[in-house]
């Protein structure tokens, strides 16, 4: 018996317990190699910080319009210039970051929660529940979420909460389908079979076996989801169904800019530029996460 222990020892050079061997750390190492993802992460964090402290830092109150300085180009007083009512564009953008974040995160959360619940239910329970939920997913997938959002906005109105629900509710199908496929893949796999053989309850299996292996893919889905919702919010405003002015939002600013683009182009540069850069950063972060947690790349 001793010979096998000795033999096993020679093959194995296992270092002491250290955090730098966990799959999470391996994932982070792969994420860091994706330079654009890191830059994206920096911008996204800035965007979040702006969202939180924005209103206190903003030089001007978004409601106050300086009638003497209507439609001025970028200047020391107004670094991003002013719009046709004299609002300082820089402050407007800072406020819009907050409103965009609140709605986008809220909507993504709503879609995510509904998606996870229904996805897990369909994946774990199977049978009719699975069939019904999957038909519902197909139904939601046939028409673009934006259409449902429009109808919901009419029903619920254009306040923060109604916009969160309007964009959030139609967005659940993607997350549900992803969770269901992940759960189904694992449920028939040997890892869950082995845990069941150990006598683990379904709750224990879901918590300790399924969840840790789902988090990665969910993170990627969320990272793609948030920019999607940002676009939906702006899209609603362009359509005239978004946040009602005077609450500043990227959609309204871009819509306003497009009306008098020929005269005052800077009205477009800053809001559209920052908005696009933010979307791009989210996508880079998502791309980096995919690289870090992609099943093809191993864990």
């Amino acid at each position: 018996m001793a010979s096998t222990a000795a033999a096993a020892r020679t093959e194995l050079a296992v270092k002491k317990k250290s955090k730098n061997r966990s799959p999470l750390y391996q994932g982070w190492k792969r994420f860091k190699r994706h330079r654009l993802a890191v830059i994206g992460l920096v911008w996204v964090s800035l965007f979040f910080i702006a969202g939180v402290i924005g209103p206190w830092v903003a030089p001007y109150d978004y409601r106050v319009g300086d009638f003497l300085a209507i439609n001025q180009g970028p200047s020391l007083k107004h670094i991003f210039g002013t719009d046709n009512v004299g609002h300082d564009m820089f402050s407007q953008i800072l406020y819009s970051v907050r409103s965009a974040l609140i709605i986008a995160l809220g909507a993504t959360l709503v879609s995510f929660v509904i998606g996870i619940v229904l996805g897990l239910w369909a994946g774990l329970r199977g049978g009719i529940a699975d069939v019904i939920i999957m038909r519902a997913v197909d139904f939601m997938m046939t028409l673009p979420g934006f259409l449902f959002a429009l109808i919901l906005v009419i029903l619920l109105g254009r306040g923060y909460w109604s916009l969160i629900l309007a964009i959030g509710i139609p967005g659940w199908a993607g997350y549900a389908r992803l969770v269901r496929s992940l759960v189904l893949g694992m449920r028939n796999g040997e890892m869950v079979e082995a845990a069941t053989a150990l006598g683990a309850s379904q709750a224990h299996i879901a918590r300790r076996y399924m969840l840790p292996n789902v988090v990665g893919s969910m993170g990627v889905a969320l990272a793609f989801g948030i920019p999607g919702d940002l676009v939906q919010i702006a899209g609603l405003s362009i359509f005239g169904m978004g946040l009602q002015p005077p609450i500043p939002s990227f959609g309204n600013m871009i819509a306003q800019a497009s009306d008098n683009i020929l005269g005052f182009p800077w009205l477009l540069y800053f809001p559209a530029g920052i908005f696009a850069l933010t979307l791009l950063s989210f996508l880079f972060v998502a791309d980096g996460l995919q690289e870090a947690f992609s099943p093809k790349g191993g864990n």
């Binding site: 046939t142 005239g240 683009i261 979307l279 791009l280």
Partner: protein, 320 residues
């Protein structure tokens, strides 16, 4: 033939989905606070008349309600309405009752369909080769550029790009391409480019991903062992297999693009379905809104059906 049976099954599914969508929208609008679907709008508009000449007021109201069948019980209203929708008799717009909806949509639907279809075709025609090049030249600067550009394309929404286009071709390069209106093919160029920008990225990234994955498969090594030359290997074995994965992306992309047309039409002032829908929704004109949802939905679902059939033709493992 299996394909015919498959199409019939799918058409039934589409019809059921449409019925559900329209009934759901109808019910939602009926109970929506804006008095959207009952005659309250007309009642408020005619309130002064009620005071002066109640008889005339009631006559107009009855005539209005019967015209739109508002006095029937709800489920009957829905059935009647569904019957009209599916027989393409869309009735009249509520906002300006004289205007016949189907006439209005006859000119606008083809415009949006053309824009959406054009942009999907463009994104495939450009996206697929880009994806192939990026996959073959993996981890070189070409791959880096294509991946970054396609991500950027995805990041800039159609409406932002549209405004930039208006600025560029309206101010800087004035006169080369018309920035508003609709008529010859010239007006189509800019909007289609704006719509396709996002899609090209998605198509290219998917194509790149699935081709890289396919070229790692064992049957590619078998083809090499047969002495198959480089390009036939890449196309006959590599691309053919990865097309199936890529096609599944086209369906949802078409739905996404159709939404894009609404915004782009507004910025480029193109008389498409988007414009009609926008005014219908903002002014609570329910017949026009529901009909546009009906048309848009069927257009997207028919496109998805087309994608599934093409997928089944390419991949023999898929039994219809």
């Amino acid at each position: 033939m299996a394909v015919a049976r498959f199409i019939a099954k799918r058409l039934v599914q589409i019809i059921i989905t449409l019925i559900l969508v329209i009934s759901a929208s109808y019910i939602m609008m009926y109970y929506s606070p804006g008095g959207f679907m009952n005659s309250s709008i007309m009642a408020t508009a005619l309130a002064p008349l009620q005071g002066q000449n109640p008889v005339l007021y009631h006559q107009v109201m009855d005539q209005f309600e019967s015209r739109y069948g508002l006095n029937l019980p709800l489920w009957q209203q829905i059935l009647k309405y569904l019957w009209h929708e599916f027989s393409f008799d869309f009735g009249n717009s509520m906002q300006n009752p004289s205007l016949h909806i189907s006439a209005q949509l006859k000119q606008t639907l083809p415009v949006s369909a053309l824009l959406a279809f054009g942009s999907v075709v463009l994104s495939v025609v450009i996206g697929v080769p880009l994806g192939i090049i990026a996959a073959l030249k993996r981890n070189t600067w070409i791959d880096y550029v294509v991946s970054t550009v396609s991500l950027a394309g995805q990041a800039i929404p159609a409406f932002v790009l549209a405004v930039i286009m208006v600025l560029l071709f309206g101010v800087v390069f004035q006169g080369i391409l018309p920035v508003t209106g609709w008529g010859s093919w010239k007006e189509m160029v800019l909007p289609v480019i704006c719509l396709a920008a996002g899609n090209v990225g998605v198509v290219a990234r998917y194509m790149r991903g699935s081709l890289i994955e396919t070229l790692r498969q064992d049957y590619i090594r078998t083809a090499k062992a047969k002495g198959v030359k480089y390009w036939p290997l890449v196309f006959k074995h590599g691309v053919k297999n990865s097309l199936t994965a890529m096609i599944t992306v086209i369906g949802p992309q078409f739905a996404f693009t159709v939404m894009g047309t609404i915004w782009v039409e507004q910025i480029f002032a193109i008389p498409g379905l988007g414009q009609v829908m926008q005014s219908a929704f903002t002014s609570f004109d329910y017949p026009l809104a529901i009909t546009s949802v009906f048309l848009l939905g069927s257009m997207i679902m028919l496109m998805n059906l087309l994608v599934d059939i093409v997928y089944a033709l390419i991949d023999p493992r898929v039994k219809l």
